[in-house]
Structure formats: structure tokens, C-alpha cells
């Protein structure tokens, strides 16, 4: 699509969505629309219709894409309840779509999908302009409904989102987490969960920026750090085990060249950095002087990191240069010697740090801008911990006990809409993958 066409489309969509809520407040059946009485272009969503899809797996394609667009929190997916499909088409010689009808439904965009031999042919209609504005073909595995096939369908959803909003969606990403002492990977819509064969007693997975590897630590007498490769299904030990030492909370640096991790031993714990190939001497980053220093998270440009430290007697979040110099407290607001601030995660857009905080004996998920200002609460019900950002810097996965057992939940920080991701007890330590580079 040319820049001109995109600019025209975006204008058209913004115009349509600006008008849509006025109509929708009165006479439509939108799902998930939160008007709050005030129009907000960041919160209000684009009305979109996904037409029924023919073919053997057509219903599955349409269902998955509608759900993906809904879960993106950027669209109002308008259900088509019409019993008369012919109503969707205009009368007359051209026999195109009945755009006035869709406009009446407050749809700004229509997705039309036709199965082809290699996958799916997808057209995006702009209702305001009454024409197709994007067309593309997407490959799918010949065998329907498998894990790769579903990922192929998610890519359609994410590209539609890019066509309309300019930003690729996140339905084609995955979440690694730990349940019991085993590592799981699940699609962000909750489907296709697999167990990956990491070393015994593994914890705290973190993705590399390409989404091809996970680094993690293990617990107990053989505590060490390994890198798991998703293509080969094998782990490679990187650091440890070492006598009298526990390793924890490893991450990849954004350039993919190094691992930063915590090492607890005879005298407190500190953060260290070592090359991903291993073999070089780990470099100490924090000067904890016997206190505990844990949970590093790096800025996307790799120049600073945030970590938790008990250096003043209770855990707060600190920020420092990438080499560990100039460490200062980030969470210097609402200070109390009872504070417990943990699990920091730096957003991929570099703006926000999400973390968990114990307040009045309960953990809640909070965010604070990277400059230390504007702290906010995102949760209030149950124990909520371990937030991890999606690659869109808009959604977070976190653990919550609000149903009585610990599960993974996802929140859209713009609208505060939440949904439960996992359905079995004890899920924790989630890490959201990047957008995968290659199908």
C-alpha cells in the first residue's frame, strides 16, 4: 500500500471512528465498547466487521480473527447477526458490499477473506470511502487447525491491525511461563499450550529479542543458568552450578549479546553480566555490599537498567547505567520501611516500568514512568504480581489470585480491560515473547 493510500485510510478511519460512538451509544450492540461518556481517540475503538469465511476451516478463521481483533483492544468487532447474507451486498450491477448498511452498523472497516490454494486472500474495505484499500495473500499450512496454522491466522489479524492503526498486532506472539516446576509456552489467546523440555526445576524464563531462545535459572543444589533453543529443543548451560550459590532472574540484553543475572552466595546477592557464548569472566554490575540485588530489566536501548535491591533494608526499585554506575532509587515516592517493590519490567517502547508492590499486605501491579514520575495502580483485587510487557507496550501479563488460585491474566493498560489467560492453577513467572521475525 502506498503511503498516500495509508494516509487517506487512516484519516477515513479516524473520521469514521470519531463519529461511530455517537451512533453506537444509541442503537448498536457493540462488544466491549467503553464510552464513559467522553470521546477519547486513544481509547475509543475502530468499528470492524469480519465477514463470514467460506471453506473447510472458514468458521475457525473468522472466529480466530474476530477474537484477535477484539483482544487487541483497538477494535469494536461488530457481530453480524443477519439471517440474510444477501443484505450485505449492494443491489445493482456492481454488486459490491452494501457500504451504507455497514456504516449504519458503525463499522469503519470490513475484512473480507477468501480461502485460496496457498492460504488466505484478504481484502480490507474502508466503509467511508466505499472501496477496498488493502489486499494481500497470506500462506497457511495445508493441514488446518494445528499450532502453526493458528499462528498463520494470527498473522492475518496482526497485519489487518497494522493496515488500520499503523502498528502490527500482538496476537501472533506467545507467553512463556512456569507451572509447577515446568516451563510452558502458550499463545496469547490461551490456545496451543505446550511444555518445553527445560532442565529440572526451571524458573524465570526470559526471551531473546528474536524470540528464538529462552534464558532461565534452575533451583536447588544444581542451581544454574541455561539457554533453551526453541528450534532444537535443547538447553545449553551458561553459568553454574557453583558451590554455595543460587542463580536467578536472568535476562538477555537488548543487543542479544549478553545475559544479566543475579547471583546469591556467601554475602548477599549481586547482578552480573556475561556473554551469551559463556566462557568470559562475568562482570559484576551492582555493588550491593552484602544486600540483595535481583530482577534486572534493561531499557530497550540497552543504556540503563532497573533492578530491585534491599540495600536500604527493604526492597525498592533502583535505576542505574548499563555498567552499574550511578545507581539511584527509582521508586522514591510513598516511601516506607514496609515497602516491598519487586518484579520490574521495562516496556519495549522505553517509557514505562511495570512492577509489583506490597501495599497493606497485598501485592498489586503498578506502573511508573522511566523518569520516576506518575506512579499508577493497575490492580486491586487479590494478589497481583510479576507484570511482563507485551511487545506493543500496551498489554501486560501478570499473576493474579482473584479467582482463588494463581493464574495468568492480561490487562490493557489503556482501557484497564482484563482477561484470564490460563485456566489451571499455579501459573507464574510469565515472559511475553517479542513479535516473531519469521513465520
Amino acid at each position: 500500500m502506498t503511503p498516500l493510500r495509508r494516509a487517506v485510510l487512516v484519516r477515513a478511519v479516524l473520521l469514521a471512528s470519531a463519529l461511530a460512538p455517537v451512533v453506537s451509544a444509541q442503537d448498536t450492540t457493540f462488544k466491549g465498547l467503553k464510552l464513559n461518556g467522553v470521546y477519547d481517540p486513544r481509547r475509543d475503538k475502530v468499528g470492524i466487521v469480519v465477514l463470514p469465511v467460506s471453506g473447510a476451516f472458514g468458521d475457525s478463521v473468522a472466529t480466530i480473527i474476530r477474537r484477535d481483533l477484539d483482544l487487541s483492544d483497538r477494535f469494536n468487532v461488530i457481530p453480524l447477526d443477519t439471517a440474510d447474507p444477501s443484505a450485505l451486498r449492494a443491489t445493482g450491477a456492481t454488486a459490491g458490499l452494501n457500504y451504507p448498511l455497514f456504516a449504519h452498523l458503525a463499522a469503519a472497516a470490513i475484512v473480507q477473506i477468501v480461502p485460496i490454494a496457498t492460504g488466505l486472500h484478504v481484502a480490507l474495505h474502508d466503509v467511508a470511502r466505499g472501496q477496498v484499500v488493502n489486499v494481500s495473500e497470506f500462506p497457511l499450512p495445508a493441514t488446518g487447525l494445528g499450532r502453526d496454522w493458528r499462528m498463520g491466522v494470527h498473522r492475518v489479524s496482526d497485519e489487518i491491525e497494522r493496515w488500520i492503526t499503523g502498528q502490527r498486532g500482538i496476537s501472533g506472539t506467545r507467553i512463556a511461563y512456569v507451572r509447577g516446576m515446568s516451563m510452558r509456552i502458550v499463545d496469547v489467546d490461551g490456545a496451543e499450550e505446550i511444555t518445553v523440555p527445560t532442565d529440572d526445576q526451571s524458573m524465570s524464563p526470559a526471551w531473546n529479542t528474536a524470540g528464538t531462545q529462552l534464558v532461565y535459572n534452575t533451583l536447588g543444589a544444581n542451581s544454574h543458568i541455561s539457554i533453551f533453543d526453541l528450534a532444537t529443543g535443547r538447553s545449553r548451560p551458561l553459568i553454574g552450578p557453583s558451590r554455595n550459590t543460587t542463580y536467578g532472574s536472568p535476562i538477555f540484553t537488548p543487543d542479544g549479546k549478553s545475559i544479566v543475572y543475579a547471583r546469591a552466595g556467601e554475602n548477599g546477592s549481586d547482578l552480573f553480566m556475561v556473554g551469551v557464548a559463556g566462557g568470559d569472566t562475568p562482570r559484576r554490575l551492582t555493588n550491593g555490599q552484602g544486600t540483595d540485588n535481583w530482577n534486572p530489566t534493561m531499557s530497550p536501548d540497552g543504556r540503563r537498567f532497573v533492578f530491585m535491591s534491599g540495600r536500604t533494608g527493604h526492597p525498592e526499585l533502583y535505576i542505574s547505567d548499563a555498567d552499574g554506575a550511578n545507581a539511584e532509587v527509582l521508586t522514591d515516592y510513598e516511601q516506607s520501611d514496609k515497602n516491598f517493590r519487586a518484579d520490574p519490567d521495562w516496556s519495549p517502547d522505553g517509557r514505562v516500568i511495570a512492577y509489583s508492590e506490597r501495599t497493606r499486605d497485598h501485592f498489586q501491579v503498578r506502573t511508573v514512568l522511566a523518569n520516576g514520575s506518575t506512579p499508577k495502580y493497575l490492580t486491586s483485587e487479590g494478589e497481583n504480581e510479576q507484570p511482563a510487557w507485551a511487545p506493543d507496550s500496551r498489554h501486560l501479563v501478570f499473576t493474579s489470585t482473584r479467582t482463588g488460585v494463581r493464574q495468568l491474566w492480561i490487562i490493557d493498560v489503556e482501557s484497564a480491560r482484563m482477561r484470564q489467560l490460563t485456566k489451571s492453577a499455579g501459573a507464574r513467572l510469565a515472559a511475553w515473547s517479542p513479535r516473531f521475525v519469521k513465520p
Binding site: 507451572r179 542451581s223 554455595n244 546469591a264 535481583w294 530482577n295 527493604h314 519487586a342 499455579g426
Partner: protein, 204 residues
């Protein structure tokens, strides 16, 4: 203990734990929709996890029971070795979010020093544990700190450092279930395991 033996022991504990678990209440319902597709799979895996966790808990309880039985046997005069073993393996407890050794645990630790000095070939592993509060990951640091504090005390009182090793389990191996102080206070602890020379312990 060799790796093979440890695996064998763990397997035995898991098996017996699973068997015992069958007599207990069914696992809690984990979600409102246990019905279709991936949820059923998740549920099955959750139940397997639950079983594994119960087995681990059961193993921990069995260990505690064995320790108590050993102590009881010693009181009955059944043997100095059993008495010495019970003393050496007695758990040390900690205050909330603290790794300082409590005054009321000093006698416990001093008794261990005496046994370690009377049995110079004995080597031990000290594992640090925490309650469920605090963050999962940071609790690994706290557990390691507790184990290190015990080791430092024993070292200061004349036990060679090379005879002791420390590990941390953080909050991952609770001995008491529950989310109240009664459970938490039991879970904030250092446990002891004899890794060498435990065949015929002498009393001091």
C-alpha cells in the same frame, strides 16, 4: 548422596506420595470452565502438577515425621547415633523477612556444632527456605541468605567451611500449607541434610 541415589529416593517419595494423595480430597476445581478442548488439557496437566506438588509436600512431611521419629527413638534410649542425627537435622527457624539467627535457635545451633566436632568426617548441606510472602524470585536470595547465616555461625564456632554447603529453595518447598502465620512461621527455616560420613554418628 549420589545423583542416582537421590533420584531413586525422590522417585520413591513421589510414588508413595502419589499413593497417599489418592486417599485425600480431590484436587480443587481450578476454573469455572473445565469443559472443552484446551481447557480439559490444561486441567489434566494442572492435576498432574497438583499431584507432583502433593508428592513433594508429602515427602517433606515424611521427612519431618522421620526427624520426629528419630528424636523420639533417641529419647527412648534407642541409640546415641539416632539422637545425634536428630540434633544435627533439627530445623532452624527465622523471623519474617530476616536472615539473622534468632536467640532461641542458638542452643539448636550450638548442639549441631558439638556433633559436627565429634564427627569430623560428617559433611552437611544447609538449605534456606522462606514463607510464601515476598516475590518468588527475590525469595531465592532470602533463602540463600538464611543458609549462609547458619553456615557462618557454624564456621565461627569451629566447623570447617569445606564441610558445609548452602543452597536455597526460596518459597518453593513449604513444609506447612496455608496462608497464615502458623504456616509461615514453619516455612521460614533452614533444613539440614547429611551429605557424607553419616553412617555411625557419635554423640559429643
Amino acid at each position: 548422596m549420589t545423583r542416582t541415589r537421590r533420584i531413586a529416593v525422590m522417585t520413591a517419595a513421589m510414588l508413595s506420595g502419589t499413593t497417599l494423595a489418592c486417599h485425600k480430597a480431590p484436587p480443587p476445581q481450578v476454573g469455572p470452565t473445565a469443559a472443552a478442548g484446551p481447557d480439559a488439557d490444561s486441567l489434566r496437566r494442572a492435576q498432574a502438577d497438583e499431584a507432583a506438588k502433593r508428592a513433594a509436600d508429602e515427602a517433606a512431611r515424611r521427612k519431618a515425621a522421620e526427624d520426629a521419629a528419630a528424636a523420639a527413638a533417641a529419647r527412648d534410649g534407642a541409640g546415641a547415633a539416632a539422637s545425634a542425627r536428630a540434633t544435627l537435622l533439627a530445623t532452624v527457624h527465622f523471623d519474617f523477612d530476616a536472615s539473622d539467627l534468632r536467640a532461641d535457635e542458638r542452643a539448636n545451633l550450638d548442639a549441631k556444632v558439638a556433633i559436627l566436632q565429634a564427627n569430623p568426617t560428617v559433611a552437611i548441606r544447609i538449605s534456606g527456605h522462606t514463607d510464601e510472602r515476598g516475590s518468588d524470585e527475590y525469595n531465592l536470595a532470602l533463602g540463600e541468605r538464611r543458609a549462609a547465616a547458619v553456615k557462618a555461625y557454624l564456621t565461627q564456632h569451629g566447623v570447617a567451611e569445606s564441610r558445609m554447603e548452602t543452597i536455597s529453595y526460596g518459597e518453593e518447598r513449604p513444609v506447612a500449607e496455608g496462608s497464615d502465620e502458623a504456616a509461615w512461621s514453619q516455612n521460614r527455616r533452614a533444613e539440614f541434610e547429611i551429605t557424607a560420613g553419616g553412617q555411625s554418628l557419635k554423640k559429643p
